[in-house]
Subunit: 274 residues, 2 copies
């Protein structure tokens, strides 16, 4: 017997939604230990039997029945899974009925309908946004900045690149990013390329301790990574952003998802996530 | 009155999980029209009152009551929201009780617990993976390929870059990618740098029509983008991947999420998504 319980996220799609919701639920139970297993693409009788075998194995190993969090659209597959010796939390079965009653309509219960279908337009939007973001990473180009939806600014290694890429991949947002560097602070002026795009500018800041650790890993024992320089740059950048009326967030205390969603909200950009 | 119904995704976090599950549920109702609104970071009495006002506005505009799909952890905020004139599908309220009974434990009902907390380790993993992926995009570098978790191969514009970035951002996977080019097909050999990493290689293919459209947008009327050349390269790449025993997927019929999840599964890489 193990001292933890196994939780399965089972879906006929990627399972990412089931996993994400499952994480939220499990994080409410502090002090309990879980082994979390995502099983995607369970869309046939053969695959559901494999799941049931895995559940049985975990049951025997852990000594307690597993939890299954599922988003299975196909009613036959979902019904077979419910026969497993586990606590089954089935999102579709739970929520589709009240929606059918509300809409006075039957759902199609069609596998694949729930998948994020890669339509040509979706795909093109996201790829275009990723290409734009890569071409405008770290101030590499000031061409076509008027086509940017958002321009992130901040000191080197404050989290601009991953946040820009997340905005592009998740929302199809064209997110450029520009570093704020010591020369900007000495001139006490934003880089000239950015002055015309004030309304698209959002800032990232970071704690001096974290910035020092990140920079130290790249350039050990340099002026660039020194605690004093990190503190100076962050302080100067925050004063510049405040002076220029640029809203900014601290990347030390928020995840990439939270930063991206909060920036979308500040920019009043409404885009569905893919 | 509008001819569609408004659906709100309301969360004290990013709302991305609620939106994702909501998309799956709504896609089951073909022929119905929805306006979908995500409201993130609803974590105070003031913000829940703003939500209720928005729900009231949508009710008046649409002539039917809205649907609210919520992942609110705070019981007071959730209880106030349930007073709105809407169909409320509340994930926490629905699923936390059976988990409490199963675990013989009380949940903490703490706001912020459900957030993907940006721990130093998480952050470092993801950033390192993104940096690795950017440094190994499009065969730009063969240095440190032994540190790659996955190496994607495929013809130019088959979807390698966005899929690699998604793997890095979502799963913290170090995903390099290498183009397969006409010289490789003429030599009938994989690029030399890749031969030592056969077990990490996974392929992407794409339909000739889509590849032609994507390439045509970048280099109109070129040999590179011509239908005949696209067909030749895809055919040659598929034969090479089959010959070399490289598993491959078609990026024309799967979303970036589906490609990434399926590649993780083929590579037997188990990583929680962030």
């Amino acid at each position: 017997m193990t001292d933890r319980r196994t939780v399965f996220f089972i879906s006929d799609g990627t399972g990412l939604t089931a996993e994400s919701l499952g994480h939220s639920l499990l994080s409410q139970f502090e002090g309990l230990a879980f082994r979390q297993v995502r099983i995607p693409f369970v869309d046939s009788p053969g695959k559901v039997e494999e799941c049931i075998a895995q559940i049985r194995g975990a049951r025997a190993l852990d000594g307690v029945r597993p939890v299954v969090i599922s988003t299975l659209v196909n009613p036959e597959v979902a019904a077979r899974l419910r026969e497993a010796d586990a606590l089954i939390l089935d999102f579709f079965a739970t929520f589709i009925a009240p929606l059918e009653a509300e809409f006075h309509a039957r759902s199609s219960h069609a596998i694949g309908k729930s998948r994020k279908v890669a339509t040509s337009l979706d795909y093109t939007n996201r790829i275009d946004a990723v290409n734009f973001t890569l071409a405008h990473d770290d101030g590499v180009s000031n061409v076509d900045l008027d086509q940017a939806d958002i321009i992130l600014v901040g000191v080197s290694r404050s989290g601009k690149t991953p946040t820009s890429l997340y905005l592009a991949l998740q929302f199809g947002v064209r997110a450029a990013n520009f570093p704020l560097i010591p020369e900007d602070f000495e001139r006490k002026k934003l880089p000239d390329d950015l002055a015309h795009h004030r309304e698209k500018l959002f800032g990232l800041s970071i704690s001096p301790e974290r910035l020092h650790r990140i920079r130290e890993a790249r350039r050990p024992n340099s002026t660039y990574s020194s605690p004093a320089n990190c503190r100076y740059e962050i302080d100067a950048a925050q004063r510049m952003m405040t002076r220029e009326g640029i809203q900014w967030l601290d990347s030390s205390t928020r995840s990439i998802e939270e930063l991206s969603t909060a920036i979308m909200q500040m920019a009043k950009l409404e885009r569905p996530s893919y």
